[in-house]
């Protein structure tokens, strides 16, 4: 079904003009700058994870790129074809799933495209369902289809897996990677989860105090696994950048590891290494 949606050749992903270009972005919320002269480029077809402590400004940056927040100072260049998936599915409850997916799509074949997008996320059978009857994972897949059908050149993901249970989250991570490979939008994934970033992204950008504190390439082969040596090394590095001392964390909060392995909602940094295999694709 993916033939209905355009592909951007993967070769574009490393060369040429950035699809997103942010320069000197400042955003002030009264008591200090949330974004403080931030600059960031995203290449077409790249997959970037945006990490940082709570309140570091990463959600504000994503909202600015979604044009949900203003950019009073600095320049922001964006493609017109943007799509956002939020932590909550945010479907319109009084529209059936297909209508939600095609909402705002102005083209004669909107319905066919909507159905194709739903097929890609494995939700064809729910096209005619009411959103409030969907499970959390299904609703989030519908939200993904709603983003995908717009053929975005920039796909913004704001912690899209955070509210899902551990198994659904793994499946959704696999789905996002598949869709990204098929359609090659530039993806910016805001996440708290270092392992999620390492599973999916080519590049991890760590934010602190409204700026980019670290910009780390993730040159790991796919599919990736939590136990791979390269994975573990990068994980330590990212955790250090985030100001988390791994050994200290492990010694002080051993029970946390168990809780997360059992499927608890992620709240902080880092899954236990090896607790979950990479999702099969």
């Amino acid at each position: 079904m993916s033939h209905a949606l355009s592909r951007i050749p993967a070769s574009q992903s490393t060369i040429g003009k950035p699809v997103v270009s942010v320069r000197g972005l400042v955003r002030n919320f009264g008591n200090g700058n949330v974004l403080d002269g931030l600059s960031l480029d995203l290449q077409p077809g790249s997959f970037t994870a945006l990490l940082g402590r709570s309140g570091c400004g990463k959600s504000t940056l994503l909202r600015t790129l979604a044009k949900l927040d203003p950019a009073p100072e600095g320049t922001v260049q964006l493609p017109d074809e943007r799509a956002v998936v939020f932590q909550e599915p945010r479907l319109v409850p009084w529209m059936r799933v297909l209508r939600n997916v095609t909402l705002g799509l102005r083209r004669p074949d909107a319905e066919a495209r909507g159905l194709a997008a739903l097929a890609e996320v494995g939700l064809s059978h729910r096209a005619n369902a009411w959103p409030l009857t969907l499970s959390g994972g299904e609703a989030q897949r519908a939200a993904l289809a709603r983003a995908l059908v717009r053929e975005p050149r920039l796909l913004l993901l704001d912690e899209p897996f955070a509210a899902l249970d551990a198994l659904t989250r793994m499946r959704m991570q696999g789905l996002v990677e598949t869709l990204w490979r098929a359609h090659s939008p530039a993806v910016l994934l805001v996440t708290h989860d270092v392992d999620e970033a390492l599973l999916l992204a080519d590049r991890a950008v760590v934010m602190a105090d409204g700026k980019i504190a670290a910009d780390i390439p993730i040159p790991l082969a796919r599919p990736r696994r939590h136990g791979d040596p390269g994975f573990i090394a990068l994980r330590s590095r990212l955790l250090t950048e985030l100001g988390v001392d791994e050994e200290h964390l492990a010694a002080r909060e051993p029970q946390r590891t168990d809780a997360r392995a059992a499927g608890a909602r992620p709240g902080g940094y880092g899954l236990p290494a090896g607790a979950a295999a990479a999702p099969s694709l």
Binding site: L68, F86, L103, L132
Partner: protein, 275 residues
């Protein structure tokens, strides 16, 4: 109440938080207590425990009902009352809706209207009867105006609140999809406010009958209220009760209509979904 009723009607597969109700069909279950009271009432009057001066027995009321129906008197008064309620409701709902749209969809509209309407709504509208008589005389106008005034406020208040409480996160997500403002209002804001509007409509219908009762007792020469007032002069408690029952039936029917509208319009709500 809406949810509970809907749950019972959609059957056992939808979310049920009430206790299981046994084998009786839903309609009969709901009628059981009123029916029992009716039997008790008939027996009490029949056995002379209650004087027919105070209250006639159900069978006597039924006879009066029959006589009024056969003579055509009831139909005439009923049509007049229905006409007044319809006219008043049409005006009140329209005014309430327009005001709510203006105040709900724009800040300037809110500044212009909301404070004023919030002040006016604290006024018990039935207290305006003397003023209305002075303004509009004793014809149809004060009765219709009373209904219109009473119904505009519940519509305004509920629809305004409904528009303002449409899930902001959904609106935000939809705003990234490239809808025009008109499309956003028509497809997202107004459907989102519809449940609140229907709640307002239910209140409005209740207020409409109440206003009619009061309105028809001031110098009316027709209508159900007039029927009851003349019956008082002839000590016809049975006719008074017939009038009360007619009011009750009308209120019930109105509620039923809104409920049918709700079930059709809010089909996306889990309580209404039949799969």
């Amino acid at each position: 109440m809406t949810a509970a009723t809907a749950t019972q009607r959609t059957g056992s597969r939808s979310r049920r938080w009430t206790l299981p109700a046994g084998a009786l069909p839903a309609g009969l279950r709901r009628c059981a207590v009123p029916l029992a009271l009716l039997v008790l009432w008939q027996a009490s009057v029949g056995l002379g425990w209650i004087s027919t001066r105070t209250i006639p027995s159900p069978s006597q009321i039924l006879t009066a009902f029959w006589d009024l129906t056969v003579s055509g008197e009831l139909a005439v008064h009923l049509l007049v009352s229905l006409g007044r309620v319809s006219a008043g409701l049409a005006i009140g709902v329209s005014v309430g809706t327009v005001c709510a749209l203006i105040a709900g969809l724009s800040r300037r509209g809110e500044d212009a209207l909301d404070a004023l309407l919030q002040m006016l709504r604290t006024l018990p509208h039935l207290a305006l009867v003397p003023l209305f008589i002075l303004w509009f005389g004793i014809g149809e106008t004060p009765k219709i105006a009373l209904v219109a005034l009473g119904t505009a406020f519940p519509i305004y208040l509920n629809l305004f609140a409904g528009i303002r409480t449409v899930d902001a996160k959904v609106v935000e997500a939809v705003s990234t999809l490239g809808l025009t403002r008109g499309e956003m209002i028509a497809q997202v804001i107004l459907p989102g406010a519809l449940p609140a509007f229907l709640t307002g409509l239910r209140y409005a219908l209740g207020v409409a009958w109440l206003s009619l009762v009061v309105g028809e007792q001031i110098n009316a020469s027709s209508g159900i209220g007039y029927l009851a007032m003349t019956a008082r002069e002839f000590l016809r408690t049975d006719v008074i009760i017939v009038a009360l029952i007619v009011y009750a039936i009308l209120g019930l029917l109105a509620d039923l209509i809104v409920r049918v509208i709700e079930r059709r319009a809010l089909v996306w709500r889990p309580a209404f979904i039949k799969e």
